[in-house]
Amino acid sequence: MLPVSMGQGLLLASFLFALGLVGLLVRRNVIFMLMSIEVMLNAAGLAFVVAGSRWSQPDGQVVFLFILAMAASEVSVGLALVLQLNRQFKSLDADEASVMRG
């Protein structure tokens, strides 16, 4: 298997992270925002995995497992919030729910 250099791996990770961040900022639909966060989490996980393989340490993959668990719990809480949001505002638009402005 062709070994992937760390530079390439990290570049891909940061590209994915930026993609997720842009998606989070430009999307108004809460579900898409959650998906963007998912992309950012995976980008961070990828960076850990790449770094772990560079120094031949299992720690990177261990952390990725933690990130997966955290992402699962985040999604479950997030979806519950989405349901509540939909019930309260009859829409999934995040900007609609700006009643807590200063």
Binding site: L24, L25, R28, A94, D95, A97, S98, V99, M100, G102
Partner: protein
């Protein structure tokens, strides 16, 4: 029996507590019973104590009763302790008995008032404070009583608080006496810091042994205490509050502003007489203050039209006599005059209250007239009080006490012809203004109907006080008239005897004779001006210099004007200019800046999740950038 002494202040305090806590819920009758009976019990106890004291005088002529330790910090341990000697015994007995009579009178006088139980609560608290002041064993307890009576005076002057004028008079009295009290507090600090004790007897004996006569410290301490005495006793230059204090109910004027509280200054000086003997210049100042006050207040009393204000100025004038006596070293004479003055001045005020009630709250003497036939009891008792005040020879108490002071002003080594002639001028003026009031109010043609007649609760105290004003002087007869110095002999254990010595060509009998002549001259003058040739008095008052003089005396020699322009107005002006308070500006600035920041920052709180996320991202970029660059 002496150990019952603590009950004398305890009864009034108890009465005050009951009235203050449940007073408004008590029926009026019961409130009056509580208020009067507490003072009555106190008077009975003090008479019992006095008879016991007279029958078997305690060793050293003084009895001390320690109740409890007030404060206990290391060696600083002022006690709540009572000290009874001849001086405090006389004053306490007179105060409680006169208070009881006035309380009895008030029970009827105030019967229609809304604040009935409040009135008695204040009065009881006053008596408790006054007795505390008189019986205090140390200066701290004395100061507690001193401030207590000041507070009650304030509360009672402003008793009818709905009228702003009364509130103003109350504040004036409080602030003016506060000036004196501050001086007095400084004097107490000075005594404490240099003598190391607050106990009156101990500090006086230490002062006598440590300080040479005429050195700086006793002069400073005595002068500061004199400041307190001058404020409380309404002497020059702090006398302006007393005439305005007549805004209070008449029993208050009789009790606080004539018979008892205003003589607290006299008591203070007599109590600390050792200090004044160590400071001859201050003692001379006491005499000069007394002499000038008695003359100036006499002239002012001549011009007043308000019955109560005439009596107020005469009170100032009579306390001037007491100060004069203290100043020339006639300590006993001052206390003797305090006693007779308490009787006849309380009497005059109480009768004035009856007359004012009867005239439907009319204060002006010129709208009264011919009351001799309409109100015979009031006439005769007022006549007795007035004669005692002016010093009708032989019959009245006031003659004996005043004669003693006039003679002391001449014969004392500290006295002289100047003080003596001031005292005599005072006698003349007293006769003049007293009989002016009597002739105008009780003689002539009746001008108004009598609306209200006094009941027994008002008549009995007046008659008792009239009797006391007649016989009260018989305890001290001068050598020329029987030579019976019971009072001086009794006071000898508490106060040093009067060192007469001087006299020269004058004898005591001759001085008394001159005083009697001055009295009759005053009486005759009043008769001429206010009965026979009323027009003469009017002509004099209407002539150009007469009018100016009248206005000058009427306005209390311009003291109110002077204080108003020199002190009150600058302070009010400054307060108005500095309404925004310069000192507050920096703090207001800080508040303003945070307010602006708050408005700016609250704009960033849009409530939009994406905006916050962008903020987080931008922040992360900035921090990572900083971390990379550094």
């Amino acid at each position: 029996m002496l150990h019952l002494l603590w009950l004398v202040p305890a009864f009034p305090i108890l009465g005050f507590l009951v009235l203050a806590l449940v007073g408004p819920r008590l029926p009026r009758k019961l409130a009056a019973v509580v208020g009067v009976a507490s003072i009555g019990a106190s008077a009975v106890v003090s008479i019992l104590v006095a008879t016991d004291f007279l029958a078997a005088p305690p060793a050293n002529g003084a009895f001390r009763q320690t109740l409890w330790s007030w404060i206990d910090i290391g060696w600083f341990r002022p006690q709540v302790a009572l000290y009874l000697d001849g001086l405090s015994l006389v004053m306490t007995t007179v105060v409680t008995v006169v208070s009881f009579l006035i309380h009895l009178y008030s029970a009827e006088f105030m019967a229609d008032d809304d604040g009935y139980s409040r009135f008695f609560a204040y009065m009881n608290l006053f008596v408790a404070s006054m007795v505390m002041l008189l019986l205090a064993d140390n200066l701290l307890l004395l100061y507690l009583g001193w401030e207590g009576v000041g507070l009650c005076s304030y509360l009672l002057i402003g008793f009818w608080y709905r009228d702003p004028v009364n509130g103003l008079a109350a504040r004036k009295a409080f602030i003016v006496t506060r000036v004196g009290d501050t001086a007095m507090a400084l004097g107490l600090f000075l005594l404490f810091s240099h003598l190391g004790t607050l106990d009156i007897q101990a500090s006086m004996s230490r002062a006598a042994s440590q300080w040479p006569v005429g050195s700086g410290l006793p002069i400073a301490a005595a002068a500061l205490l004199l400041g307190g005495a001058v404020g409380k006793s309404a002497q020059l230059p702090l006398q302006t509050w007393l005439p305005d204090a007549m805004a209070g109910p008449t029993p208050t004027s009789a009790l606080i502003h004539a018979a008892t509280m205003v003589t607290a200054g006299v008591y203070l000086i007599a109590r600390t007489h050792v200090l004044y003997e160590l400071a001859p210049p201050v003692q001379l100042a006491v005499a000069i203050v007394g002499a000038s006050t008695l003359v100036m207040a006499g002239f002012s009393a001549l011009t007043q039209w308000d019955l109560k204000r005439v009596l107020a100025y005469s009170t100032i004038s009579q306390i001037g006599y007491m100060f004069l006596a203290l100043g020339v070293g006639a300590w006993t004479a001052a206390i003797f005059h305090f006693m007779t003055h308490a009787f006849f001045k309380a009497l005059l005020f109480l009768v004035a209250g009856i007359v004012i009630h009867a005239m439907n709250d009319e204060h002006s003497i010129f709208r009264m007239g011919g009351l001799r036939r309409l109100m015979p009891v009031a006439f005769w008792t007022f006549l007795i009080g007035g004669c005692s005040l002016a010093g009708l020879p032989f019959l009245t108490a006031g003659f004996y006490s005043k004669d003693l002071i006039v003679w002391a002003a001449w014969s004392s080594p500290r006295g002289g012809w100047a003080l003596w002639s001031a005292a005599l001028l005072g006698v003349l003026l007293t006769g003049l203004y007293t009989f002016r009031v009597i002739f105008v109010v009780f003689f002539g043609e009746p001008t108004a109907e009598v609306e209200k007649r006094p009941g027994p609760a008002m008549t009995i105290p007046v008659i008792v006080l009239a009797a006391l004003s007649l016989v009260g002087g018989l305890v001290e007869l001068p050598p020329a008239l029987g030579n019976l110095p019971l009072f001086s002999r009794f006071m000898a254990s508490a106060l040093p005897p009067f060192e007469g010595g001087g006299g020269g060509a004058m004898s005591e009998g001759l001085s008394g004779l001159v005083a009697a002549v001055a009295f009759f001259a005053g009486l005759y003058g009043a008769y001429v001006f206010f009965v026979r040739r009323r027009s003469l008095a009017n002509q004099m008052a209407l002539s150009r210099p007469g009018r100016a003089l009248h206005r000058f005396w009427f306005a209390d020699w311009g003291f109110d004007w002077l204080y108003d322009h020199a002190l009150v107005r600058p302070v009010v002006w400054f307060a108005r200019v500095n309404k925004g308070d310069v000192v507050d500006a920096p703090y207001r600035g800080i508040a303003r800046v945070s307010q602006v920041l708050h408005h700016g920052l609250s704009l960033t709180e849009t409530g939009r999740v994406r905006w916050y996320a962008a903020g987080i991202a931008a922040g992360a970029v900035v921090f990572v950038g900083i971390a990379l660059i550094l």
